[in-house]
Amino acid sequence: MADNVANEQLEKRAETAEPDPIADSSMSRALLITSILLILTLVWSLYDEIFGQRPWKAYQSEFVASYLEHLETLKKAAAKPEERNEKAIRETAEYKKLDAAYREATEKVAPRVKEIGARVSEIDREIGDITDPFQEARAWIASKIYQLETTASESGKESVRSSIEDKRNESITVAFTQKDGSIKKEGVPYKQLEKRYNDLRDEKARLNVELAGLTKESGEMLRKREDYLQNQMSGLTEQAVDNIIKGTNAFEYRIRQINVAGGQVVDRCESCHLGVREPLTLTADKMGDEKAFVSHPSRDLLTIHDPEKFGCSTCHGGNGRGTTSVEKGHGRYKHWLWPLYYKENVQAGCNQCHNADRVTRMADTLNRGKDLYYQKGCVGCHRYEGFDREADALASARQTIKQLELDRATRLREMRETREAAEKVTSNEEARSLLNRADVVLPQLVSQIDGRIGELDLQTKYLMKDQKKIGPNLKEIKAKLRKEWLPVWLRDPQAFRPGTKMPSFRLDDNEIRAISAFLWQSAIDYVRIADQQQGNVERGRDLFKQTGCVACHSIDGNAINQGSQPVGGHFAANLSRVGEKANFNYIVRWIHNPRQRLAPYSPSLRRDLTPDDYKSKNLAFLFDDDHSKSPLDGRELQVQNMTVMPNFRLSEQDARDIASFLMSLKKGEPRYPDASYLDDASLKQEGERLVKAYGCASCHEIRGLEDEGRIGTELTVEGSKPIERLDFALLTEDAMRGKDPITGGERSAWYNHKGFFEYKLRNPGIYDRGKVKSPEERLKMPNIYLEEDEITALTTFLLGSVTTSIPESLRYKPAGAAKQAQDGWWVVRKYNCMGCHNVLIGEDPTLAGVAMYQDADGKEQLPPRLTTEGARVNPDWLLKFLRDPSLAGPQAAEKLAQQIARHDAGAAQPSAVAGLTSQPGANRNGVRQYLRARMPTFDFSPNELQMLVNFFMGASVQPQPYIPERLEPLTGDEQTLARALFTSAAAPCLKCHMTGDPAHDARATAPNFLLAPERLKPAWTRRWLIDPAFISPGTAMPSGLFNRDEMHGRWVFSGPTPPSFQTYDKDHVELLVRYMFQLTADEQRRLGTGGAAPSAPAPGSTTTTSSLDRAIRRPTSRVNGP
């Protein structure tokens, strides 16, 4: 049925022959259009494939064109006959002199050289003639000897023997070439031939040795001449440029690709950035203003990080594979997580691997960022791995101690139980085994735990010493500050002290009142500081200026006659207005010893101890490094103020003078509003809530809040936080569109990490804009008032704070010396060693920037450079010195201990009045007593001492342990010689170096030689004597004291030497070094500068002086001895 219907329909259709709308209509137009489209697409895709996808090709041809153009100019310059052109240099007097010397040296030996040459060529010819027939015969004999050894029968052996003998006597025909070239055949017996062959070879060897000796001098001269030529030429030779041009002409147009770490990194950056590794330094102006073609700005950096090994995007960010457009390649589009760092933040890349470095060489911006992170107190609120590591270590040590104490208790219980069990068991054997555990094993385990606890307890002591706070101790404000000043400061710290690290918290009046009241009321009030006499302001001013305070502190230049700008470092506070805020008594005590607290803090009891606590145990209220255990529970106390400010070992009078000077610094007599509400107890609770909320205890010690945690977010990997988690809040639109939220102007889009960090640092509350929030919910980060370059440095640091994607194999994992240097930098930076010293090559100390240290006399007063300290000093000595830079020794400490004991016994003062305790090594530098700046006592813990010593040794790549080099003892003659040289008018040693004679030392500008044996390393001392300016540029020690005597390969004194030196043929430097290292106090006195150490007899009184000694003694107008 259905079929029928279908058929009918078909028939019907055929019949009607109506035009079919599909089959009959023409498709040609559609086909035409689509095929045109298809062809266009094909053309387009081909075009895109060949040109569109390969923008680098255009770059490459442009590079070749620009480079060739640049090379042509270079070539012209090289060809120009200028002063420094090779030909001109050959015309200079110096070159001619060297050339003449070379020629003279050559000519002097020329006849003999020629003779030798002639003879050698004769020998060569003869050997050539003899060699073949001789070796043939020798080979034949050798084969016969082998036959002899392998032949079994005696008769056979005999025949072989005789044939060898025959051959040996046989005459061999040799074709000798005559001088005229003809050939003369001669029969020579084998034995003779053998002798002749050996003789000729011997003679040739002898002649060659002679020739080498003869031409040594001229060879040396030639080398000197060529060195001179090489050194004088400043540019490339024409030929060298030609070679580069040739290379550039053969340029291959292709993708330049680096595969790194087994293909984990693929970088095609150099497909466009073709100049990066060119040997010539290319700049944009040389390369047709195309910035893409410039050389890498630091060749040194590329030497350490060879691009073939590290690639480009590893450090710089960006999409190394991208070649289709600049945006793609640089990774600055939505889908790439690691965009190319902007130029000002490029050092962020360094931090990916160097995050454990406190200081990374050649990364100034990054280093600055880390400095600021610490100095501006960011680390107070925001944890960052590595910064403030002591707090982490301390927490972990305390935790471990608790754990171990539990373990100990468990073990003791086990002991008891095991013993009980032993009583109950039936078998004797079992009882013995249990008793063994209870009485032998367990006690030792307990003892082990005890030892471990003891060690950890000591560690907590060290760590408490090492742990510092950014801000001052607020427990002491009642003793330190004027009450009325506190609210004024809190309102606007910047207004009182521009540049202070105390940020501004956007507080309202009520908050300020509450916070001030809480802080004031929680300060220690049960210890009063002893009244101090006023000091001499002028003397204090000089001391402040000279002692080195400005290495860390800045001050109004007017106050110390150094111009009108603030002078000094920004590591610590600007002291220009101390007089308006502080109490004199407290400042005296602080300057005298800033580490001295008013009261010790007990972390175990969580409170500050009082004199009554000590009294209850019948003890004086005495707490310091040697009295650091709590009288109540025996646990370690915090006995020092948590400041990095060191102890300058000033006398009490000096401390009073400096304090008087500081107290005289005022902008005017301050008039503060009434602040009696600070004692209003009703404000305290609200104040405490606010102090906790704002995290004040992160930077300050505050009573009751010692264990407060950090309130900020951890920033260790902030740079790799997903962008969605950075809360741009209502500024998201602005960021994406490119609107500056501060000026309101147009800018590029800033919806990225860089933009977020920069605006946050500029204005920490900015992301609250437009939001309605209660005060508690507002962003708490305070205003830090950073300069733009500081923002860049911090942004760079944060951008580099990432979970790196760099392959493990490429990361920086220092070991040995490099690791020691890496660890040590944390300590060096923490205590601001570079305020006074040049530690990093190229980084001047803060003091060098102060005007008074810039003239010739001032430069001499700069503390020593430490860039080669590890090579200079014995590590054992260094440890001793760092511990006590006065080198006053244990006697001084002993004396002090007695004084303190007497002080306690007398107990003249009520113990709640804190006075000054005198200190060892007061008022002197241990090594450089002539420096006005004082090397202070930092009171490092043993941990930090070791880290510092390791740092200096590591930074100079010195092996540890150090076994001093043994120096040959001086013979009696040598001793006399050295003494004569030391004291000759031509040698300046004793004019500048200290001798122990006070009158002389007042003028001295260099350390005492008596320190040398213990302090210095001989190898360094040799280098120092020969050219001190290489070790410490600008040093007062002159260069050119010794000349090189090439003839004998030694150094000789460059001035006139005493006559006795005529027969001395050894190295003079070596002689002096040995003399210095064997110098004794007696010998030093013999040198005739007078001045006896107090304990030793005056020179001349007990010893009879030799005639030589008398001759060399300088006439002195001074009378020795008392």
């Binding site: 040997p279 001032g858 008018a985 300046p988 004019k991 300088r1114 107008s1117």
Partner: protein
């Protein structure tokens, strides 16, 4: 393939070596590289002369204790400080020089004669002196004791060399203009000299009687600068016509205090 790259590497290494070995020697060559045209004399140069006066009471010259070095103590000559030398109200040792005008527009050849700085009686003689860029400064040691010569320039390389008695004179040049370079002897801290280095020959030092003369001044407009070690600089505009003989006096006043910024080690040096 290997061959091709090998040669490229060798070429690159060669070039790198040459750059590396040549770089440190590159000097800033003062007048030679500045592209200034050499000065052509029209024989119409003028002369500037004058007197440097001192108004007020000069500070007392203090005695220097040279006892630390017997050779100095026994040497002759007055042992007084010489920073401020005033005779009858006239100030010596003032460095007078021109800036601006033709002397900065042209380059000048340094004279072939050296300028001599002697160390005599443990003093530098002269105390203030001028040299031209690249002109030889010959340093003598006429004493029987060792000295070290230690200039501390800001724009020129610093050096510090020992000069024992009886050794050859040192011949040195400075390659950049600098007014003035302090020179000191570290062994005898009172020994100070000041060397002015200029790109042109128009400078002078006031004599004992306060007079100075700058000869061969190309006609033009200048700034005339006087420099004194402790009292600082004074400047005045001056126009020198063709073959003109100009007179320009200066006065330093004792009341204008020079603010000492240094850490001078005075107490150790000077006896009352």
């Amino acid at each position: 393939m290997l061959k091709k790259y090998g040669s490229m590497i060798v070429a690159a290494a060669l070039v790198a070596f040459m750059i590396a070995s040549c770089k440190p020697k590159k000097k800033d060559d003062g007048p030679v590289d500045t592209g200034k045209s050499p000065y052509q004399s029209k024989n119409d140069e003028g002369t500037i002369s004058g007197v440097i006066k001192f108004d007020g009471t000069p500070p007392d010259r203090k005695r220097i204790d040279m006892g630390a070095d017997a050779n100095c103590a026994s040497a002759g000559g007055e042992k007084l400080t010489e920073e401020v030398l005033v005779t009858d109200g006239k100030l010596a040792n003032v460095f007078v020089y021109l800036t601006g005008g033709p002397v900065d527009q042209f380059s000048f050849q340094p004279p072939s004669d050296p300028v001599v700085l002697d160390q005599k009686g443990c003093r530098y003689d002269p105390h203030v002196l001028g040299v031209m860029i690249k002109q030889t400064l010959r340093i003598l040691n006429s004493d029987q004791t060792a000295h070290n010569v230690h200039p501390t320039p800001k724009n020129n390389p610093e050096w510090n060399e020992s000069q024992p008695p009886g050794t050859a004179p040192k011949e040195k040049t400075f390659n950049r203009a600098e007014t003035l370079i302090p020179v000191k002897c570290n062994q005898h801290p009172w020994m100070k000299a000041n060397v002015g280095v200029l790109a042109h020959p128009c400078f002078s030092v006031s004599a004992q009687d306060g007079t100075y003369t700058i000869k061969n001044v190309p006609p033009g407009n200048y700034t005339l600068v006087t420099w004194h070690e402790t009292m600082g600089e004074q400047k005045t505009q001056i126009t020198v016509g063709a073959s003109e003989k100009k007179t320009q006096d200066f006065t330093y006043k004792s009341s204008v205090a020079y603010a000492p910024t240094s850490l001078r080690v005075e107490a150790a040096l000077i006896l009352p």
